[in-house]
């Protein structure tokens, strides 16, 4: 989609008259809006990744109340809980996401995401979680 957009822009620049240029520009804007934010960024945003991979358990609001929780023996963490979330360092949260709950002595129900998310994307998610809890790095950890 990105490629298509760039090609259109080039064509627009070299070939078309002012009026056509404006129309194409408008079309591109509408097109981008439709597929936003995917078409605007080269890779997925932390919000995209949180929506697809985390919301199913941690919920649309990040409060641990996802569609899957009814029969889960361990309930997902409430990511808006500043007290609980500030008790963890960024490095621990990174590890929990990359290697799963077991890696930090928590439940197997928190999955490892190393095979789908790059380290950069996981770092992005750690920052995203900090915006959900409106809290910072656990002191002294």
């Amino acid at each position: 989609m990105n490629k298509l957009k760039i090609r259109l822009k080039k064509a627009d620049f070299y070939v078309f008259s002012g009026c056509e240029r404006m129309i194409i520009g408008l079309k591109i804007a509408v097109f981008s809006l439709f597929f936003a934010p995917g078409a605007l960024f080269a890779s997925d945003t932390a919000a995209d990744n949180y929506a697809l991979y985390c919301v199913q358990c941690h919920g649309l609001r990040g409060d641990g109340k996802g569609i899957n929780i009814r029969d889960m023996s361990v309930q997902p963490r409430d990511h808006t809980d500043a007290k609980a979330m500030s008790g963890r360092s960024d490095a621990e949260i990174f590890k929990a996401i990359k290697e799963g709950g077991l890696a930090i002595d928590k439940s197997v129900q928190m999955p490892p995401w190393a095979e789908v998310l790059s380290d950069a994307e996981i770092t992005g998610l750690v920052s995203y979680l900090r915006t959900l809890c409106k809290c910072s790095n656990g002191a002294g950890k």
Binding site: M1, F35, P37, G38, A39, F41, S43, D44, D48, N49, A51, L52, Y53, V55, Q56, C57, G59, L60, R61, K65, G66, I67, N68, I69, R70, D71, M72, S73, G100, S107, V108, Q109, M110, P111, P112, W113, A114, E115, V116
Partner: protein, 228 residues
């Protein structure tokens, strides 16, 4: 003289045309929603533009008999629809599935379902992944299986093992044994990302021994549950 020849030709023609009919049917009635050619989505953004699960590796995944039956009387495979994100909303105690937003799947008559199933079974770009799975026949009790599936591996969080028990962001698994080829089950549990690089099923590093147990357990489940 002309009549018998005409009959012979039309019978011959309909048999020969069957496979081609199936391909044409897939193109005209299924391709608008299903990806039939690959590749799988490479980003979350791309995946979210998909209207339906990919079918380009259907021949490596499904059991033909299930396809023929299901295409005539489709039932819900994914309790939260595809993609679940398009069908959920916040509820009182937790997010809930917006059942009214779930569409019903188009149904085919027997002849067209058979033609479509045959055409789908020809789509096999992942024979190599399937060939890697060596499964010896065997059984496993429901209790032992559930231990591996839920307690040790945390699979219940996303999958129903009874129509009203389990998680809903993944396909139901109480009829997976009749829907899916055993080798496909083994392969997707081993490396979900080999099939769909951006799928929301995680690779939980399940051991060979537990993969075999899970395959047998799902077989047991589908024989107990007659929800086909």
């Amino acid at each position: 003289m002309r009549l018998p020849l005409w009959c012979f030709l039309s019978v011959f023609y309909s048999v020969a045309a069957h496979a081609a009919d199936g391909d044409a049917l897939l193109q005209s009635e299924c391709a608008a929603c299903h990806n039939l050619t690959g590749p799988a989505a490479a980003t979350v953004a791309e995946l979210r533009t998909r209207k339906a699960p990919d079918l380009f590796y259907a021949g490596n995944k499904f059991r033909r008999e299930w396809l023929v039956r299901w295409l005539q009387q489709p039932t819900r495979v994914r309790p939260a629809g595809f993609l679940f994100l398009n069908h959920i909303k916040p509820g009182a105690k937790s997010d809930v599935v917006d059942a009214a937003s779930l569409p019903t799947h188009p149904a085919l008559d027997t002849a067209r379902a058979t033609a479509a199933a045959d055409a789908l079974m020809n789509l096999r770009p992942h024979d190599a992944l399937i060939a890697k799975e060596k499964l010896a026949a065997g059984t496993l009790s429901r209790a032992m299986g559930e231990m591996v599936f839920d307690k040790f591996s945390g699979c219940l969080a996303c999958h129903l093992i009874e129509p009203e028990y389990g998680g809903v962001s993944g396909p139901e698994l109480y009829s997976a044994g009749t829907r899916l080829q055993a080798e496909y089950i083994a392969s997707i549990v081993r490396t979900p990302q080999a099939w769909q690089p951006k799928t929301w099923m995680p690779d939980k590093h399940i051991s060979d021994a537990n993969i075999v147990k899970i395959v047998r357990y799902l077989d047991t489940l589908s024989k107990e549950n007659k929800h086909e």
